[in-house]
Each structure stands twice: as structure tokens, then as C-alpha cells.
Point group: C2
Chain length 151, copies 2
DNA sequence: ATAAGTATGTTGCATTTGCAACATGTAGTA
DNA sequence: TACTACATGTTGCAAATGCAACATACTTAT
């Protein structure tokens, strides 16, 4: 390892994530989105993974089950999702389904977010982008296998 | 942009950061470190940046000034840092100086953390690592210039 | 049939975090 | 000289977050 933790890729990823989050927050504030970045991200995840149960969602986004439930409660209360019961492995679960309102909201926010992200991505070589993307995924897969993830 | 926010590099960075944080937390728990990952990271930053003032530290680690103060308060209370007064641009500021105890602690924790990080880094091509590192830094520099960072 | 284990989701609570307001002190400007 | 702006750090507060304990229901082992 390099001399300092602050020199490691782990530190860099965590620090860069803070910048990314800040970028999201500023865009959301600028347009008075009425959703947090986290909520938007959850809704977008539900679009990609329709009918995912709450616990599986928590695992996917690496959040505590309780907190995931609270986020879904909040989104449900505002009409962006609805909860349905389903059977998974013979067990009753609650699944979160994004509503049309939720989808519209995500599309609306994505329209606003897109140019801001595009500006950043225009600065990055596409080949590099793909490489970084692949490596991050590889890193997550490896950590997913080696860490004790209790969710 | 790709179809979904969850496909973007931003989302990937944020999600990967959660995995990295979890890795750190598990190592710290395993060895009963008695520091949080954040505190360890702050101490390591202070080693790299001796005599940094509190506000500059907050800017460096992208944390709220108040929260940074609280973290430093906690570290000071346990003897890992001490606060000193200094003059910066003719103004009185508090600077945080890591103590010998703090340095010993960082070294001790780094010893334990190192093999865990090494295992991960052994999985990654060094050339890729350098590339990702460079890109993350470039991304941070760009966002640092374009975002309104009020700290 | 029963007991133990596991899965899923909720509740209560404590901790972490960021924000606004404030305090203090210096710089810049009229 | 007085006023305004800015820099730095603290306090109080609310929101977000994770954890432990619990409830419910199914699976597995005895």
C-alpha cells in the first residue's frame, strides 16, 4: 500500500462519491426537485427492478433494512410508489412498485440532471469511462463476495 | 447519458463508496479499533497536512464545518490531536495537530487495514488502478471548480 | 409434531450529519 | 471612522441513518 490511506483508491472513491453527491444535491436544489438524491436513486432502481422486495432493494443499494423501509414509506406517502404483497420463495413479502407519477417524476428529474452529468462526462475519454466503470463493478463484486453483508 | 441514473458513473462511484466504507467498518470492528473510519481518515489527513485549520480540513474532506469541528473535538478529547491557535492571513484560527498517540494509532490501524486492502488491490491491474485513480482525481478537480462549495 | 433457524419488515433509539443562526475578528470600502 | 463583507468556529436543531430488538411467517432439522 502507499504511504497513506488518503493515497489509496478506497479513499479516492469515497471522496469522489462526496463530490458526486454534492453535484446531485445542488442540481436538485436548483430545480426544487422535491426529492432527495437518495429517493430519486431508489425510484430509478425500482424502474430497473420492478417488483423487487424491500429487503432485496436494501441489499442492492447497501442500506439498512429499516432505513430502506422508511425511504419507501416516504415515497409511498407521496404517491411515487405503491406497496403490494407478493410471494417470494413461498413467503409473503412486500414489493415496491413505482407508480406513473413516480415514473414521470424520475423522467422529469433525469431531464434536468442529464446536462449536468453530460458536461462532466464530456470531459472524460469514453474509453477511460468504460474502464473505470468496469473496474468499479469488479471491485463491488469482489467486496460483495468477501464482506459479511448483513442486510 | 445512458438510460438510467443507475447506469451512470456517478451512481457507480457512490455505490462503490458504500462497499469501501463497509469494508473499512468491518475491519475496524474486527480489530476493535476504537476509531471510526471517518476519524481514522481525518487523522491520516492531518498527518499529510500538518497544521491545517479546521475550515480548510472541512473543505478538503468535503464535510460541514460544524461536523468537522465535532469530529476534531472527539479526537481531541481522546488525546489523538491537540488544538493550537495560529494566524492565517492575519486572522486567528484553530489548527489541529496530531499527537504522537494519534500517529501511533494511525500506524497501528494501518497495519491491520493494509492486508485487507492489498487483497483487493491484488485483484486489480496496476495500470488500471493508476488510470482509475487519475480519472477520479480529474473528476474531483472538475467538480471542485464547477460546484458551489459552501464550506 | 415440535423446536430451531432463517427471512422479511417494523419500531424505538442513538448516532451521525448537515444546516441555520450566531459570535468573534479581520479586511475592504466609502 | 464607520459600515459592510468575509472568514472561522460553535451551538442548537432537525433529518438521515444504522442498529438491536421484536413480530410474523416459512423452512429445516429432530
Amino acid at each position: 500500500m502507499k504511504k497513506h490511506f488518503t493515497d489509496t483508491i478506497f479513499y479516492q472513491i469515497e471522496l469522489t462519491a462526496k463530490y458526486c453527491k454534492l453535484m446531485g444535491q445542488q442540481v436538485f436544489e436548483k430545480y426544487n426537485v422535491g426529492l432527495t438524491v437518495e429517493e430519486y436513486s431508489v425510484l430509478d432502481t425500482l424502474i430497473c427492478r420492478p417488483e423487487i422486495c424491500q429487503r432485496d432493494l436494501a441489499k442492492l443499494i447497501l442500506k439498512d433494512r429499516a432505513n430502506t423501509g422508511k425511504i419507501l414509506d416516504s415515497l409511498e406517502k407521496r404517491g411515487y410508489i405503491k406497496r403490494k404483497l407478493a410471494i417470494k420463495n413461498n413467503r409473503p413479502v412486500k414489493i415496491a412498485e413505482i407508480t406513473d407519477l413516480g415514473k414521470d417524476r424520475v423522467e422529469e428529474v433525469s431531464e434536468k440532471l442529464r446536462p449536468h452529468m453530460q458536461v462532466v462526462m464530456d470531459k472524460i475519454n469514453n474509453s477511460d469511462l468504460a474502464r473505470v466503470s468496469d473496474l468499479l463493478r469488479e471491485l463491488r463484486d469482489f467486496l460483495n463476495d468477501t464482506l459479511e453483508i448483513q442486510i
